[in-house]
């Protein structure tokens, strides 16, 4: 209060600076208070659980230990159990097939759609927007829809393929072990196209139109413009889309759980499903955690490769 009584001209200069600095410092502390609640929340419910999970992967955690907290340390035993399980090895194979096949088609179709929807067409806003709905539907609902469409005798997909003459006898999409994984891949492609399309579209729109104009003046046709301008400039966007896509697709759980439940005979049991079955069906949380830790390792390797590629891109 006494401060306000002194006319500003009489306040010594140093005191003003000091006061200002103190107010700035108080403000910084104030801003940290804004950051605090969410940080605490994420430490308790995200960081701490992930650390305990890594710890569990070296311990024996069963129903009894769950309640009493008695979880003996077993070293690498869980990892040894998991790695020697043939179901685990097949789950790694299924995961990689599922992820890579999904990515190739999602990205390819998404890129073509982005090129189309980038143009100034009538109704293009409606087209871009309504395509996104596939991504936002609850996965359980999308799973149910595809389970119905993939039925071998009454499913619309077999009917459509038969009526255009691609196949002559119905495909047993979900009951034949070798084919079932392709059934869930088809469903996942549909879900993933909007994600790829929207990010690639944002990338395409950030390319300066003057580049295309200059190329047109120089006599480049639309194919050459695509090859020499669009594709090189889309490389870093494509990299991030592919990396995010890899991470999201490797983590897919609900879709497969709903459509096939991992069957027939483990044919679609990808790594997240395998971890779930170990942890929540067999109540062996130690081994389940070991699988989750191995998934984490795989994602870590992929992200590192991405960072190396991105750095090379930036220095080049």
């Amino acid at each position: 209060m006494s401060m306000t009584m002194i006319p500003p001209s009489q306040v010594p200069k140093t005191s003003v600076a000091h006061h200002k600095r103190r107010r700035r410092a108080r403000k910084v502390v104030g801003y940290y208070l804004f950051v605090l609640p969410a940080t605490l929340f994420l430490i308790i419910f995200l960081l701490y659980p992930i650390c305990t999970m890594l710890l569990f992967s070296f311990e024996q955690v069963n129903v009894g230990g769950l309640l009493t907290g008695d979880t003996p340390f077993v070293g690498l035993e869980n990892y040894r159990t998991v790695l020697s399980d043939p179901v685990f090895r097949s789950s790694v194979g299924s995961s990689l097939l599922f992820t890579i096949a999904s990515l190739v088609f999602q990205f390819g179709i998404g890129f073509l759609l982005a090129l189309l929807f980038q143009r100034r067409l009538p109704l293009v806003g409606l087209m871009r927007g309504s395509v996104m709905i596939a991504w936002m539907l609850p996965i359980v609902v999308s799973g149910t829809i595809f389970k119905w469409m993939l039925q071998s005798d009454s499913g619309i997909i077999n009917y459509a393929l038969q009526s255009i003459g691609v196949i002559h006898t119905p495909i047993h999409w979900l009951s034949e072990p070798k084919i079932a994984i392709w059934g869930v891949i088809i469903a996942n492609i549909w879900i993933g196209i909007p994600f790829n399309m929207s990010l690639l579209l944002a990338g395409l729109q950030s390319i300066s139109p003057t580049l295309y104009e200059a190329a047109t003046v120089d006599g480049a046709n639309s194919f050459r413009r695509l090859l020499h301008i669009t594709l090189p400039l889309m490389r870093s966007t494509s990299l991030i889309v592919l990396m995010l896509g890899f991470i999201y697709t490797l983590n897919v759980f609900d879709l497969i759980y709903v459509i096939t439940g991992g069957g027939p005979v483990n044919a679609t049991e990808v790594m997240p499903l395998y971890a779930y079955n170990l942890a929540f069906v067999q109540i062996d949380l130690g081994s389940g955690s070991a699988v989750a830790a191995l998934m984490f390792l795989l994602l870590f390797v992929v992200s590192t490769i991405y960072l190396v590629l991105i750095r090379r891109e930036e220095t080049a």
């Binding site: 910084v28 104030g30 801003y31 940290y32 208070l33 804004f34 950051v35 609640p37 969410a38 929340f41 994420l42 419910f45 659980p49 992930i50 999970m53 569990f56 769950l66 309640l67 189309l116 929807f117 067409l121 009538p122 109704l123 293009v124 409606l126 087209m127 927007g129 309504s130 395509v131 996104m132 709905i133 596939a134 991504w135 936002m136 609850p138 359980v140 609902v141 149910t144 829809i145 389970k147 119905w148 009917y159 549909w190 196209i193 994600f195 929207s198 990010l199 944002a202 991470i247 983590n251 609900d254 997240p272 971890a275 779930y276 942890a279 929540f280 949380l285 989750a292 984490f296 994602l299």
Partner: protein
Amino acid sequence: MSTQKKFSQTLLLTVLGLFCMAIMLFPLYWVIVSSLKNTVELFRSPPTLFPQQIDWSPYIANFVQNQDMLHYMGNSLQIAVGTMLLSLLLGTPIAYGLARLPVGGKNVFLLAFLVAQMFPSIMLALPLFVMFTRIGLMNTLLAVILAITTRTLPFAVLVLRPFFLSLPRELEDAAFIDGCGLWGSFYRIILPLSRPGLLTVAVLTFLMGWSDFLFPLAFISDDTKRPLTLGLYKFISEYGTRWNDLMAVSTVAALPIILVFMFAQRYVTSGLVAGAVKD
């Protein structure tokens, strides 16, 4: 290029675009149509593209006569609203703090959020299951809300921060001169100006809460606490072949998303893109 050639090219591409859109929307159309067919028509070959006779009985059987699904919807609604409120309550201040703080440690936070978004839910479900068992939160909607918020919160921050960054600082300085504190200017000046961003986050976190499946699957065994996604799944395993019932329940579970796309699509699509790539 002559105008006529250009016109026909545009026409061709528009038709192609509409065709792609139709294919992408077909599964959704098919589930709605299937839910309105009677059992005989449902399995008829060749399938009918439009129900010849609209049959509401799956809806009446599952939402009027049997009240289970309504109950599940109530639970889903509570989870969705809870997730939305908690995400906004925690996410808004931190996004603002990170937008205004001087550099120190800010990049660490942003990187952490980017990484946090990528953790497989299954990796989180496992230790949270143990944690919630020990503190007695199993079989509660709160457990599900807390778990989903760990996924939605980083997303909310990544969407909201650019909004706060785009607001001119002069507004807050003016508020400080007028005697507002930090929280005062945040509440009175910043929040009202960021309504579009808040709306985007509210809608998307609501939908994420509504759609989640893994966390309820892991934490909820009591039938009265099940959300609709679990109810639908239970339905698949119990009545595997009653497709028209399944389609009716699926349609209702998809309804909030369809409504959002009809009335608030603008907010949603921009938010989805921002949340995925902004760094």
